[in-house]
């Protein structure tokens, strides 16, 4: 239970937030979603982010995922100061280094599982044949071999979330960011998804940052970070 991460043992963590604040709005209506968050995540870690609703978990994830930039403080990804990057440069960073899994899956409707998984490869300019092969491999890795041509509408919630995971890992990103990936699933499906994530974390050394409300799911992580009112309240190491 040490709120300050051990900086000396990890000379350059993959993710480092230093005094990150996020303020929405200005003046009277200013909303402090994050208040001076310090956080370091090393390569290969599996971190769970917990905390009550409105405590700033998603805001923090968006900043880590380079979808948003801090109002104050510094966020370095792999040593790069993300706040200094342009919109397009952040898009490139997401394209090459990050994978997202959302609570609401966010798969494209009426588009087959295979094509959904192919999507990030298209933006990387991977040629069709190779794309198909990689997407099929990723789908097989999440246990969906044979479901390639089903559309999200024809898949169960758990299967849809696994397609979303396949889409996030197909590019072999450095970090997988999951914001309540099991929020819409029953406990059986949730466990399936968690086993999958743990598997990728342990076998491939994939760095995972996951937001969850459920202690059962957080238990899979190697470290639990608890948020309260936009600040880190506690860090528990398993």
């Amino acid at each position: 239970m040490n709120p300050a991460p051990a900086r000396d043992s990890e000379p350059q963590p993959l993710i480092r937030l230093t005094g990150v604040s996020k303020i929405y709005g200005t003046g009277q209506a200013a909303m402090h979603a994050l208040r001076g968050v310090d956080l370091a995540v090393a390569k290969g870690e599996f971190v769970a982010v917990m905390g009550p609703s409105g405590s700033g978990k998603s805001t923090c994830m968006n900043i880590i995922g380079c979808l948003d930039t801090p109002t104050r403080g510094s966020y370095r990804f792999n040593g790069i100061e993300v706040g200094d990057l342009s919109r397009d440069q952040r898009a490139i960073l997401r394209r090459h280094c990050l994978g997202f899994v959302f609570q609401g899956f966010n798969l494209l409707n009426r588009t087959s599982a295979l094509e959904n998984v192919e999507l990030p490869l298209i933006y990387r300019g991977v040629p069709l044949r190779q794309r198909r092969r990689q997407a099929a491999t990723a789908l097989a890795a999440v246990g969906l071999a044979g479901w390639e041509h089903h559309t999200p509408g024809e898949l169960s919630g758990g299967q849809q979330q696994r397609v979303a995971i396949a889409r996030a890992i197909v590019t072999t990103p450095e970090v997988l960011l999951a914001d309540e990936p099991t929020g819409n699933l029953d406990s059986e499906r949730s466990l399936e998804v968690m086993r999958l994530l743990t598997d990728f974390n342990q076998r491939e050394g994939l760095t995972i940052v996951m937001v969850t409300h459920e202690p059962d799911m957080a238990a899979f992580a190697s470290r639990q970070i608890h948020f309260k009112d936009g600040a880190i309240e506690a860090i528990r190491t398993a």
Partner: protein, 403 residues
């Protein structure tokens, strides 16, 4: 990347097939209208040009009066011409192929029990040369018949058909005003003009015979002149005018009391009329493309709003602004382009039917088709730009939260 974007656009359009169809209807109708009109217009021009070619495109007509140009329709009293005028033209103007003075009247032509109302033209052998008219059978008047005012005639195909059917007409006689004329020739069929007059419904008799025995005067109404091939008819026209002013003793400040109609002039009038028509059609097309473009912009804005979450997802996955921009721009260009192509096909089909109904040739105009494709795609770019930019500028987080 472009190919993927193109396929994506096709799929997005196909998913909302009905909506897309209704959206591009404006473009389809606009393009179809222009293609139809331009194609039919081209066909009509070709037909008229061909007709005038049959009439003899290097033919000029000299008539008394003031033609179409007279001020306020007030006709100057116009003397008819005389045979001497035609002779003067032939003698004094170079580069003429033939001159044919004519006088005509509508009459009954009778053969046995058959009779027909037709136009009887008194003229010379120059008539068939000027009009570039072959004889189906027999011959045209010889100098002796012309000089002597003999009662001989050459009949047109329509008259031959009406009076003789399958029988041989050469050597038979027909009656015109109680005078018997011996048939010495039959003209080859020319068919109808584009204005629907039957060119073959006529009987030719020697001018002198017509003047003496039918008209009872020495008037010549119209003088047909044909220039040699390759000679500019406008120069011939100017010389004819000068000569006629001289012969008819028109004071220098007075207006002509005759006019020369130049077939080539008619052709160029036709062409300029067509050009005006095409310009008008272009304006109509521009308006309909504008309306169609606004429809496309509207539907693209709806589409961007509907797909906000998709856009957010794509951005989270690594789409740059320009990737999103391209996706929506390509979609609107494909939409507008499909509208254009449908319009072209519809227009060509309608023109095909119209050409058959109007009896004009179907003249395919590749220029207007290319223009239609370019313009409709251009509409897609112009009117798709704003919605596409709106999509590209979306904040990824906001977009992902969008319900």
């Amino acid at each position: 990347m472009w190919w993927e974007t193109f396929m994506l656009a096709l799929r997005a359009i196909q998913r909302n097939a009905l909506r897309s169809g209704l959206t591009v209807l404006g473009i389809v109708i606009g393009v179809a209208a222009v293609i139809t009109m331009v194609t039919l217009g081209g066909g009509a021009t070709a037909k008229v040009t061909e007709d005038i070619g049959k009439l003899g495109s290097n033919m000029l007509q000299l008539r008394p009066g003031q033609g179409f140009h007279g001020p306020g329709g007030a006709r100057v009293s116009a003397e008819p011409f005389e045979v001497a005028d035609a002779e003067a033209l032939a003698r004094e103007i170079a580069n003429l192929e033939a001159v044919a003075p004519t006088a005509s009247r509508s009459m009954q032509v009778i053969q046995g029990n058959e009779n027909r109302s037709t136009t009887v033209i008194g003229t010379t052998d120059g008539f068939v040369l000027v009009r570039d008219w072959d004889l189906e059978a027999g011959r045209i008047f010889n100098p002796g018949e012309l000089r002597g005012g003999k009662a001989v005639c050459v009949i047109g195909e329509t008259v031959r058909e009406a009076l003789f059917g399958g029988l041989e007409p050469i050597g038979e006689t027909v009656r015109l005003d109680r005078i018997s004329f011996k048939i010495i020739g039959v003209l080859a069929a020319k068919g109808q003009t584009s204005f629907g007059t039957d060119q073959d419904d006529l009987v030719l008799v020697p001018l002198r015979t017509f003047q003496r025995r039918i008209a009872g005067n020495t008037d010549v109404q119209v003088i047909y002149v044909s220039a040699r091939d390759g000679v500019a008819t406008d120069r011939v026209k100017t010389r004819m005018e000068r000569l006629m002013r001289e012969r008819r003793r028109i004071a220098p400040e007075a207006e002509d009391d005759f006019f020369v109609r130049d077939m080539q002039e008619i052709v160029s009038t036709m062409t300029s009329t067509t050009r005006v028509l095409t310009t008008l059609l272009g304006a109509v097309a521009a308006v309909s493309l504008l309306v169609g473009g606004i429809g496309i912009m509207n539907i693209m804005l709806v589409s961007v709003t509907e797909r906000t979450r998709e856009i957010g997802t794509r951005m989270a996955i690594g789409a740059m602004e320009r990737d999103v921009m391209r996706q929506f721009l390509v979609e609107s260009v494909v939409l507008a382009g499909l509208g254009g192509i449908c319009g072209i096909l519809l227009g060509l089909a309608a023109a095909g039917v119209g050409a058959r109904l109007m009896g004009v040739p179907f003249v395919f105009n590749p220029g207007i088709v290319c223009l239609a494709v370019i313009f409709s795609a251009g509409v897609g770019i112009v009117f798709g730009y704003f919605p596409a930019r709106k999509a590209a500028r979306l904040d990824p987080i906001e977009a992902l939260r969008h319900e």
